[in-house]
Amino acid sequence: MSSLLSVRDLRVDYETPAGPARAVSGVSFDLARGEFLAIVGESGCGKSTMLFAIAQLLTYPASQVGGTVTFEGVDLTTLRPEELRQHRWRDFSVVMQSAMNALNPTMSIGAQLADVCRAHTDWDAARITQRCAEVLAMVSIDPAHLKSYPFQLSGGMRQRAMIAMALLLEPKLVIMDEPTSALDVVAQRSLMRQVQALREQLGFSVLFVTHDMSVVSHFSDRLAVMYAGEVVEMGSTRAVFDDPQHPYSHGLMDAFPSLLGAPRVLTGIAGNPPSLVNPPGGCLFAARCAQVMDVCRSVHPELLEEDGRTVRCHLFHPVAS
């Protein structure tokens, strides 16, 4: 598998009255063709900001202050808006968090799908209509709904319509920002199933952001855990779930109740994330960590690798090979 997207040392700051807040600091990863990478973390950990930076959609007060985003050998950060337009939707598309707000309430679904085609292709009207009906059918929506308005669809259908819209021009990468968070469990599971089936059929890569790692547990190939703007752990989904190395991943894993086994008391992760304007020296998680040591408060841990797993923690000692 060759690399489709390559992110190196990505940094994003938000301008605040107190100075720049480092929302994303030094994130690097590669995404292979057809791969599903999930990014999990709490609100405010910078996961959505990072997606926006990758799609080059940041607006004031956020700005990219460093790093590169290379898509098929082209550094997106150096492109002019006109050149970016050539890549958007054809090469990568974005599914926004809340389909309720991302769809235009005054336009029919069909008109909104056609709008994308007109903006990004030179197809004629017949081909546009045909393609719009095709993508709706792909996500199990009756093409009769081309004439429907968003308010006539259920939450799950609207979210699926958003995915249909993202797939219009068969992009190689679909970026999804918490597409399941407003859905019920049954609709959530069904949406994930559908994304998986479409990915197998069309072969696109997925970059998927969520705060609920149980949602992606069965669907993603790799998992990256973000905390306070940094990746603290990354590895194959199964490995991270079965044997989380970073205390924060451990905490996230332990934060949701289960239907299995004897009932037990959970504690979650106490405390709040650190300030991003004046981040503490040392490990950013130190103040909330149950296994904190003296070194954690003074030395910022590096991201170390072992067997395809990277962890940013002083407790992690990879065997030198």
């Binding site: 049954v186 959530q188 934060a255 109740p257 239907l259 009932p263």
Partner: protein, 321 residues
């Protein structure tokens, strides 16, 4: 079960929907009966459109019931509940960002509740009580929290404040309408622990409304599963979780995301999680169109609840006691 605090019998709430050519009656809640005992957490579980929030709103006096009776603390609650009833049975809302007045300090809102519902307290006692209330839900130091504005609090802290506000009137039952669904997974567990703590230390009963079966299992003593406005199954939490009988409960169980389980070959392959529409419903079980076990009988008449044990009841023709 201990002494009954709330008794609901045959509760229905219908809404008129549609315009002049497509007038219909939406059966949001249809002939629902249940009881809540003292010091008990009862979970109302169901997806969007199951009528669970409608029940809470009718109980809170926000809508009058179309039919049925509500008995609270031994007295019948009429069309317009009194301030006494609202104080003894307050509600915590889903959206922590929309349910707190943003221009008033936390202390002001809280002391306002105390002034209305605890008129025997003087100003100094109210302040002391307000501090005690916020500290009881884990917001410390209390005096400092009272001086803050809502925007200075995180979503989880706001929701804790919602519970503090509900506690101000010394309730016997708190209606909690999806109090954690808008929060991050890692913060939810803390709030669920607050709910358990209120039951154990204050003896408050809670009606916990949710679509998440796993969190219902974590906090609730008993569980009531709703589908399309009707109760399909109820029982002690562990009873329902260990042997779910209704096909809908089983669907909910199989779609609950759990990384500890292998991906089951579940119904979400075909079931899109479309919420039921109950406008001018015909006879028969409302789950029949989605049910893998549906028989002719299911489409002809509505199944009545049968007792499987002294505590577990199921409304399904396919289940024989």
């Amino acid at each position: 079960m201990s002494e009954t605090i709330l008794g609901v019998a045959g509760l229905s709430r219908f809404f008129r929907v549609g315009g002049f050519r497509s007038r219909g009656i939406l059966h949001a809640t249809d002939d629902v009966s249940f009881k809540v005992g003292a010091g008990e957490i009862v979970a109302l579980v169901g997806e969007s459109g199951s009528g669970k929030s409608t029940i809470a709103r009718v109980l809170a006096g926000l809508y009058p019931p179309t039919a049925g009776s509500i008995t609270f603390e031994g007295q019948s609650v009429g069309r317009h509940s009194s301030r006494r009833v609202r104080g003894r049975m307050p509600m915590v809302f889903q959206d922590p960002f929309g349910s707190i007045n943003p221009v008033l300090r936390v202390g002001h809102s809280l002391e306002r509740s105390l002034k209305l519902h605890r008129s025997e307290l003087n100003a100094a006692a109210r302040y002391e009580e307000a501090i005690a209330l916020v500290e009881r839900v884990g917001l410390t130091p209390g005096a400092e929290v009272l001086r803050r504005f809502p925007h200075e609090l995180s979503g989880g802290q706001r929701q804790r404040l919602g519970f503090a506000q509900a506690l101000a009137s010394r309730p016997s039952l708190i209606l909690a309408d999806e109090p954690v669904s808008m929060l991050d997974v890692s913060i939810r567990i803390g709030l669920l622990n607050v709910m358990k703590d209120l039951r154990d230390r204050e003896g408050v009963s809670l009606l916990y409304i949710t679509h998440d079966l796993a969190s219902a299992r974590y906090v609730a003593d008993r569980m009531i599963v709703l589908y399309a406005g009707r109760i399909v199954e109820e029982g002690l939490t562990e009873e329902v979780i260990s042997s779910p009988q209704h096909p809908y409960t089983r669907l909910l169980m199989s779609t609950a995301p759990d990384p500890r389980l292998p991906l089951s070959d579940d119904a979400s392959l075909t079931d899109l999680g479309e919420p039921p529409k109950v406008i001018n419903p015909g006879p028969g079980c409302r789950f029949a169109p989605r049910c893998p076990l549906a028989m002719d009988q299911c489409r002809a008449s509505t199944p009545t609840a049968v007792a499987l044990s002294p505590t577990q009841r199921v409304a399904c023709y396919a289940v024989t006691p």
